[in-house]
Amino acid sequence: MNKATIIDDAITYITGLQNHVKGLSERLIEMETVEGEKQGSEEDTTEEIEKFQIEDEVKVTCIDEHRLWLKVICESKRGRFTKLMETINGLGFGITDTNVTTSKGVTLIMFCVEVRYGKL
């Protein structure tokens, strides 16, 4: 095995693997589209089961001149975090720190944000 053949083999092998990966992922996508509809209903039910009785809570503390500390307790649902993020972005806050924890269907979200007065 000299250098040239090693490199050649490497090239061949890589292209072979790439094709393999491509084929497998395409197959996977095909299979997924077939089964996609079945799964929607299941997930919601599982969430319901774990819900606890906790009230949603939002707490805002002013740490600094331009800083706020937000604490949110809410029910865990998909897409909630995203919505929250959208809101915060919309308000023009710059997020300094983030902490999100989930336990038994309840999410605790804590933000430390910086307020930029330029954007409101």
Partner: protein, 461 residues
């Protein structure tokens, strides 16, 4: 003493025009020299011109360092000196009466050629020689005793080799060519032109004399592209041939030590090897450095990652195919406490490692783009994502959107600004029966984050 090499890297276009290619090696200093030579003596014999060319080539190599000096050189001064040196070298020259004082002086200034350089400059010499030959008028030649040494004459009388028939692996042919050139009377510039044009075909030849150093120089030049090499090297070939010619006369068989065939094949071999390295580099998704070791290293990592991905995909396909059987296998704590690798690497690398324990999916994949680094680890149905962003752009929103798209439940997020970086850690769970796989996650994340960089950049906080 006439040595083999003047490497000049700049040739002004030959006065006669077409040598331009050949002469293309650009020796700003050489050109004036050449011009002077050409203008000076119209009656010089070809040998003298050749020698002058050799000298000038020599100069060029030195010249290479002091282009200006060469340009400003006074040919008169150089002549005697140079010619004398040249004379010493080749036997045939000894008989010459170097009258060109300018030459010699100047040439001496130019000299001091490093032998290695000299080798590399062979082509230059040839070039200059070629130019010289074409530049029939030679200021120095006036005083030349137009009595070429017997050796040179003999060489001149060698059977003429047509340009077309010159083979890259035939030094002799090249010599013949140069001889032929030498034989041409000053007025037959067209022939020179033709020869110059034909030089590109003989790129294989010069190597013979340069030996390893020459090859080394040539390698860089080749850049794995034979054709390019040809174009650029045509002159050099000619130079070499001329040089060889003079050397032949003076120094004997030095250039013939290595068989021409070896040069051609070896060079081809090298070129092919370089090409292969390049194509290997192209295959790897994020090549960073272009040296061979890095290419091989990246390729190794990429192959490993591809193997992991293949395993992962196979497993997913099997899972899907056999319904929703969850395979419970021992849990592996996959580096839950991994620290983020907050490296400021602007390069992209791929690292992938999979530990497949039965059917439990464990995948680890890292992707880095210019300002973002994503590390995705999957154990069974839990995904841990570490994200490091170089620029201070708030990406949480986009990331969370994507995670939703990818059907990942956010369980835990933590992160913030650390120095110049945003870094986040996401723990999420894959929805049931979703067959998302690691590389898809990583790629999507990188893609979206980069997009948001692009989008936010103008309005970056």
């Amino acid at each position: 003493m006439y040595d083999e090499g003047c490497y000049y890297d700049t040739h002004d276009p030959n006065p006669f025009g077409e040598g331009g290619d050949v002469a293309g090696a650009n020796s700003s200093g050489l050109t004036p020299l050449m011009s002077a030579i050409s203008t000076g003596n119209s009656n010089n014999s070809l040998e003298e011109n050749l020698r002058l060319a050799s000298f000038s080539l020599e100069e060029l190599s030195n010249h290479h360092h002091n282009t200006e000096a060469a340009a400003g050189m006074n040919f008169e001064e150089m002549n005697t000196h140079l010619m004398q040196d040249v004379l010493h070298d080749p036997d045939h020259i000894s008989g010459m009466d170097m009258d060109q004082k300018g030459w010699s002086t100047g040439l001496h200034d130019m000299q001091g050629i490093n032998s290695q350089q000299a080798q590399q400059f062979h082509h230059l010499n040839h070039d200059a020689a070629g130019q010289q030959i074409e530049l029939q008028p030679n200021p120095f030649n006036a005083s030349y005793a137009p009595t070429p040494t017997p050796d040179l004459l003999n060489l001149l009388h060698l059977p003429r080799c047509s340009v077309a028939s010159m083979l890259p692996d035939s030094n002799i042919h090249l010599y013949d060519q140069s001889l032929h050139l030498n034989q041409l009377p000053p007025q037959q510039t067209p022939i020179f032109k033709e020869l110059f044009h034909s030089l590109p075909h003989n790129y294989g030849l010069p190597c013979s004399r340069g030996g390893p150093s020459f090859f080394g120089g040539m390698d860089e030049r080749e850049a794995g592209n034979g054709s390019v090499y040809q174009d650029g090297e045509g002159r050099q070939l000619f130079d070499n041939s001329v040089l060889d010619f003079s050397n032949m006369s003076g120094l004997g068989k030095r250039s013939e030590g290595k068989g021409t065939n070896h040069f051609a094949t070896e060079r081809q071999r090298r070129e092919q090897l370089n090409d292969k390295y390049k194509s290997l580099r192209l295959l790897v998704p994020h090549p960073s450095k272009s040296d061979r070791a890095s290419v091989v290293g990246d390729a190794i990592e990429y192959i490993k990652e591809l193997l992991r991905t293949v395993e992962e995909l196979k497993m997913l396909v099997d899972k899907k195919r056999y319904g929703r059987e969850r395979k419970k296998l021992k849990t592996e704590d996959d580096a839950a406490g991994d620290m983020e690798s907050s490296s400021i690497k602007p390069i992209s690398t791929l690292a992938d490692r999979e530990q497949s324990n039965g059917a439990k999916r464990t995948t680890w994949l890292q992707r880095k783009s210019k300002d973002t680094e994503v590390d995705v680890r999957i154990i069974d149905d839990e995904v841990t994502i570490k994200l490091i962003q170089r620029k201070k752009i708030n990406c949480l929103l986009s990331v969370s959107k994507i995670l939703d798209e990818l059907q990942l439940d956010l369980l835990h997020v933590s992160g913030g600004i650390i120095g110049d970086f945003y870094s986040f850690l996401f723990n999420s769970k894959i929805y049931e029966n979703s067959s998302i796989y690691a590389s898809a996650i990583a790629e999507k994340l990188i893609e979206s984050v980069d997009k948001s960089y692009a989008a936010f950049h103008p309005g970056n906080f």
